[in-house]
């Protein structure tokens, strides 16, 4: 089989039959195989070889574990923390230890049990005693959330969530810290339930979702100004926007004849310079109203980051699955479909994250500037000469319009008019004469 004749190599054909080709090559190979007789023969030969190999059968094995295996399992069960990998003996001597000192096992188990009880008592005491003090100590600490990328212990996360529900006295930034940690705890527990096989990867994704270095506040402000000169105010507003590296999001201007001119604009100003920009704006006129609000989206952002990390892990696992697993074409296609769905989800979440970051980075400032209302100037009446001139022009226009109308009427309806005249002329003349004769003849005596 030569490449210049066949677009598919024989090896590729074999890989296709083994389900080892990427989807795009697999579909091309399937199409070619459907058409090419020579490749069909090769495929049949390869299948025949595989079928022949099934003739080499072996007798069934003994499904029971042997004594050594059972002993190793027992040993591991008894000393799970010391199941020495790769070695045939433990530091206590393994089976020899049990043979020579059977009582020591019981003593060891008892000792371990006591240690465990002591440890659990200590840990419960430390939870009961230390954590409230940590909670009350929180306001004294820096408002910056924990930026450490180290994985957070699950128990600690759970406690934080409880504290979030109970501590109404904490300030916003502290609540944001606790909210994001609680969101991580929720996600971690969900992941553990849904995909225990991938717990390690998911945990990695979770810790990779680094919390933002400061609380993420979505700031919105509104200001209404009244100015004497709207044009000057508009220019001033543009200057302020440029000065603070912001941009104009939306602008609407209106100038009704019976009311003041008005300008409504949505400005996007870097969040950290919003206050300064507001101060500058107030110099443009008299402030009629002003308001500011902030929405904490830290938890939302962390949640989004974690979900994004997980989706990327899922994508990676699917890619690994595509590379490593053998299977039917339909299975491969199914994995491809799932992969494209996950990628769509990743793109959507990345978009959401970008939007959220931008919304946080740039505060929204809705500014309404209106001009003080001025009564319109009274117009003077026209002079007599102008009025005569206007009347003459109007008269001339009327005459011209009349002549044009008559001409148009004659052109449009003239022929029909002539026809009616021709039809009605003789009856009318006859009637006319009868009437005239009756009037001129003297009445009969």
């Amino acid at each position: 089989m030569k490449n210049n004749i066949h677009p598919v190599e024989a090896e590729e054909l074999m890989a296709y039959l083994d389900g080892e080709l990427p989807v795009e090559r697999a579909s091309a190979t399937a199409t070619h195989l459907h058409e090419c007789r020579e490749c069909q023969i090769i495929a049949a030969e390869l299948k025949s070889v595989s079928e022949s190999l099934t003739a080499w059968e072996i007798e069934a094995s003994e499904p029971q574990m042997n004594a050594e295996l059972i002993a190793a399992l027992d040993e591991r069960e008894q000393q799970p923390e010391r199941a020495a990998p790769g070695g045939r003996s433990t530091w206590l001597g393994g089976t020899r230890f049990r043979r020579f000192a059977p009582w020591a096992g019981g003593a060891l188990v008892g000792g371990v049990a006591m240690l465990l009880i002591a440890f659990s008592l200590i840990s419960s005491w430390s939870r009961g005693e230390h954590e409230p003090s940590r909670a009350t100590a929180l306001p004294a600490t820096s408002p910056q959330p924990n930026t450490s990328a180290a994985p957070m212990p699950r128990a600690a996360l759970g406690n934080d969530r409880d504290r979030l529900a109970l501590s109404a006295r904490l300030n916003d930034s502290e609540r944001a810290q606790l909210a994001q940690r609680a969101a991580q705890a929720d996600l971690a527990s969900n992941l553990e339930v849904n995909a225990p096989s991938a717990t390690a990867e998911m945990a990695k994704a979770l810790t990779a979702a680094t919390p933002p270095s400061a609380p993420m506040i979505l700031r919105t402000a509104q200001i209404t100004l009244v100015t004497q000169n709207l044009d000057k105010a508009r220019a001033g507003m543009d200057k302020i926007v440029a000065q603070y590296n912001g941009y104009l999001g939306d602008l609407t201007a209106s100038a009704p004849s019976d009311g003041p001119r008005k300008l409504t604009a949505t400005l996007r100003i870097p969040a950290n310079q919003l206050d300064a920009a507001m101060r500058e704006l107030k110099t443009l006129g008299r402030v009629e109203s002003e308001s500011q609000s902030g929405q904490d989206v830290t938890a939302q952002y962390v949640d989004l980051e974690a979900r994004l990390g997980n989706a990327r892990n899922t994508e990676q696992r699917l890619l690994d699955l595509l590379r490593q697993r053998t299977g039917k074409l339909s299975d491969v296609l199914e994995v491809e479909t799932e992969l494209s769905r996950v990628r769509e989800e990743i793109e959507r979440m990345e978009g959401e994250r970008r939007l959220l970051s931008k919304q946080v980075e740039y505060a929204t400032l809705n500014a309404t500037i209106s001009e003080e209302f001025k009564a319109p100037a009274q117009a003077l009446p026209d002079s007599l000469g102008t009025r005569f001139r206007n009347a003459a022009v109007d008269g001339y226009q009327s005459v011209v319009n009349f002549v044009i109308s008559v001409a148009l009427f004659l052109v449009a309806d003239g022929p029909m008019l002539l026809l009616w005249i021709a039809i009605l002329f003789f009856p009318a003349r006859y009637a006319w004469r009868k009437i005239r004769n009756r009037d001129t003849q003297p009445p009969l005596q």
């Binding site: 024989a10 090896e11 074999m14 890989a15 083994d18 080892e20 030969e45 390869l46 025949s48 070889v49 595989s50 022949s52 190999l53 003739a55 080499w56 059968e57 072996i58 007798e59 069934a60 094995s61 003994e62 499904p63 574990m65 042997n66 050594e68 295996l69 190793a72 399992l73 591991r76 069960e77 799970p80 199941a83 020495a84 990998p85 790769g86 070695g87 045939r88 225990p196 096989s197 717990t199 390690a200 990867e201 590379r323 490593q324 697993r325 053998t326």
Partner: protein, 191 residues
């Protein structure tokens, strides 16, 4: 049904039931792996058990980066190579003998087995891992530390060579060559 990897993680956490499930899934395939490569059924049985013994002892080192299947066959391959080295030094075990009778289907099996045995060693291992252990190209490449393309090429060559070996005409010629003049005369008479 839990995946192998989940079972392995559960076993790492101390679940005996998870190990028993893994054992029930893989004891047969691992026995088959050794049985097709060794003459002694008893030795194949022992090595399959030793593979699981190594799993128990190395459970704490297992990381869910590789598939459990690949992990198990990796251990099995190491044990197999060690067994072959041992046989080279000490000679084959006394009980080693062809176990298959010459009846019916087993005769065909013997024929296939002999054809496989005539393949080049590196190609034979790849072919067997693919056909009997059903490993993917990538898994075979990982186990044998070869590039995937090499695995694919060798597998193709092995299959083509096996096709030739299993061809009745080739088989007849070989038999004629090995049996000498008497057999060749008989073949000519049949023709």
């Amino acid at each position: 049904m839990n995946s192998d990897e989940v079972l392995m993680l559960e076993f790492q956490g101390g679940s005996r039931a998870a190990f028993e499930e893994l054992y029930s899934r893989y004891s047969g395939p691992l026995y088959g792996f050794f049985r097709r490569r060794l003459d002694s059924p008893q030795r194949a049985e022992d090595l399959a058990q030793e593979t699981f013994l190594a799993v128990i002892r190395g459970a704490s080192h297992y990381e869910p980066r590789a598939l459990v299947r690949t992990y198990l066959y990796g251990i099995a391959l190491k044990l197999l190579f060690a067994e072959r080295r041992k046989q080279l030094h000490e000679g084959p075990p006394p009980e080693s003998a062809p176990e298959l009778s010459t009846e019916g289907k087993q005769e065909t099996g013997m024929w296939v087995r002999q054809a496989v045995a005539r393949l080049d060693a590196s190609e034979r291992e790849i072919l067997m891992l693919r056909e009997y252990e059903q490993l993917s190209y990538l898994e075979i490449a990982d186990l044998l530390r070869l590039p995937v393309n090499t695995v694919r090429s060798r597998l193709f060559r092995a299959r083509m060579a096996l096709k030739e070996q299993l061809d009745p005409k080739v088989s007849l010629q070989r038999q004629a060559g090995s049996d000498g003049g008497a057999t060749s005369r008989a073949a000519e008479g049949e023709a």
